[in-house]
């Protein structure tokens, strides 16, 4: 009845095909089956944001989806943003502005900020804070994360500055 199912998707551009139990969360699939441990797991009920990934271009909580539901989807995890030698502009902004300490929340913050920057103007700090309110950080006090997102949003609006 609840035996394994074949599921196919692309993860960070590479096709993936695995047999999984229906109850396997997408977050556990990424971490345990694919070994992509950049996606972190905190609460498993949608509250902390650590597990945030992209599904077909928009963010989703990987802990609130089953791997079987991602059949045919394009998944992007933090590993898909850019390797250490070639950081994406958003990652670069986090580095420049000290947007992380222990790094536990960082993958979720990056994935969330990327979606926010694409969908909202993020013209004010209030908008940035509101957008990040679904991602918990126990270290930074958020100030540096807001500064990093502000810089990245500005760079996107005015690419030459």
């Amino acid at each position: 009845m609840s035996g394994k199912r074949l599921v196919r998707m692309t993860v960070n551009g590479s096709p993936v095909e695995e047999a999984v139990e229906p109850r396997l969360l997408l977050s556990d699939f990424l971490r345990q089956v694919l070994g992509l441990t950049g996606t972190h797991v905190g609460c498993e009920h949608g509250v902390c944001g650590a597990c945030t990934v992209r599904v077909d271009g928009s963010t989703a909580r990987a802990c609130l989806m089953f791997a079987v539901q991602a059949e045919g989807c394009r998944i992007v995890t933090v590993e898909g943003l850019g390797p250490a030698e070639a950081l994406s502009p958003l990652q670069e902004a986090f580095r420049e502005h000290h947007g992380l300490q222990c790094g536990f929340c960082t993958p979720g913050m990056l994935m969330t900020a990327l979606d926010l920057i694409e969908k909202y103007p993020l013209a004010s700090d209030a908008e940035i804070r509101e957008g990040l309110s679904g991602n918990l950080c126990r270290c930074t006090g958020y100030e540096h994360i807001v500064a990093a997102v502000r810089a990245a949003a500005q760079r996107r609006r005015e690419p030459s500055s």
Binding site: P22, F66, R129
Partner: protein, 291 residues
């Protein structure tokens, strides 16, 4: 925690969904956005034998603008309801409320049908369904029916839906041209469930209030329409005293809970304040002639 084992079926038609639900005889759960169901599975508050995934049914993600109402499909995501230009234009009170629902990653997945079926007593969409006299259309083995929002919400997480019934679409009544509207919410943090929220639509006719609708969420067993306040407002000239009386009628009507986020007294206080504020805004807007 991790969910208990279940079988999984992704259906591609309403008929296939109904058939799977009927076959499972009450042991199945529908999954739409999963943003309320999956946490309950992860906590093992629910242990269904089968998940029927309706996300791949075509034709349930739509917004159709008609002269008297706007029909929205059950699989329409919260983020689309927040940003769709046709809703911003014709039902701005709904778009405004959607911006307060959870966080972007959750709004990207959560659906209209899921929110109404889940019937959280502090959720925004059930309040909007009540405010806008929505009619909820379902499909079931016996053919389906249309349920008035007023008859739909029975208690916390309880609705009139049967176990083999699928919510298909929601028809929101369009407020008359020239109506004013307002929505106000207080939550602990942006994106959290409301401690209290109020929404109003009303019209002014010869300087008097017509068709006042006042809805609240977070302050009772279910979201509600404040009938006594509406009766007070109907046909009267807007003013501070009238709005204070309406707010007092709301404070008397609601039965909030005390929980770890707020006391019942504080929620009752908020209900009054938010009703007064939304009435002031909606009346000013109706007087200014903006829809």
């Amino acid at each position: 925690m991790k969910p208990a084992a279940f079988d999984y079926l992704a259906v591609e038609s309403v008929e296939a969904a109904l058939e799977a639900l009927a076959r499972a005889g009450g042991e199945a759960k529908i999954v739409a956005g999963g943003q309320s169901l999956v946490p309950m599975l992860n906590f093992r508050l629910l242990q269904p034998a089968l998940l029927v995934d309706i996300n791949r049914i075509p034709g349930l993600d739509f917004i159709a603008v008609e002269p008297a109402r706007i029909r929205v499909g059950a699989l329409t995501r919260h983020h689309r309801q927040e940003t769709a230009p046709e809703l911003r234009e014709h039902l701005p009170v709904l778009s405004a409320a959607m911006a307060e629902v959870a966080h972007l990653a959750i709004r990207n997945r959560g659906t209209l049908g899921g929110s109404l079926s889940h019937a959280d007593p502090a959720a925004e969409l059930p309040m909007m369904a009540l405010l806008l006299d929505a009619e909820i259309a379902t499909a079931s083995p016996s053919g389906g029916r249309r349920i008035a929002a007023r008859d739909f919400f029975l208690g916390p997480l309880a609705t009139g839906l049967a176990e083999d019934e699928l919510l298909i679409e929601v028809a929101f009544a369009r407020p008359a041209a020239g109506s004013g509207w307002a929505f106000e919410e207080v939550a602990r943090r942006s994106g959290d469930f409301a401690l209290a929220a109020a929404a109003v639509t009303l019209r002014l006719q010869d300087g008097r209030i017509a068709e006042p609708h006042v809805a609240l969420t977070g302050v009772d067993e279910t979201p509600l329409r404040a009938g006594a306040a509406e009766a007070l407002l109907d046909g009267e000239a807007p003013g501070a005293e009238l709005f204070a009386a309406a707010a007092e009628a709301v404070r008397r009507r609601v039965q909030p809970n005390t929980d770890l986020h707020a006391s019942a007294d504080y929620r009752r206080h908020l209900a009054g304040v938010l009703v007064r504020r939304t009435l002031e805004k909606a009346a000013a807007q109706a007087a200014g002639g903006r829809a």
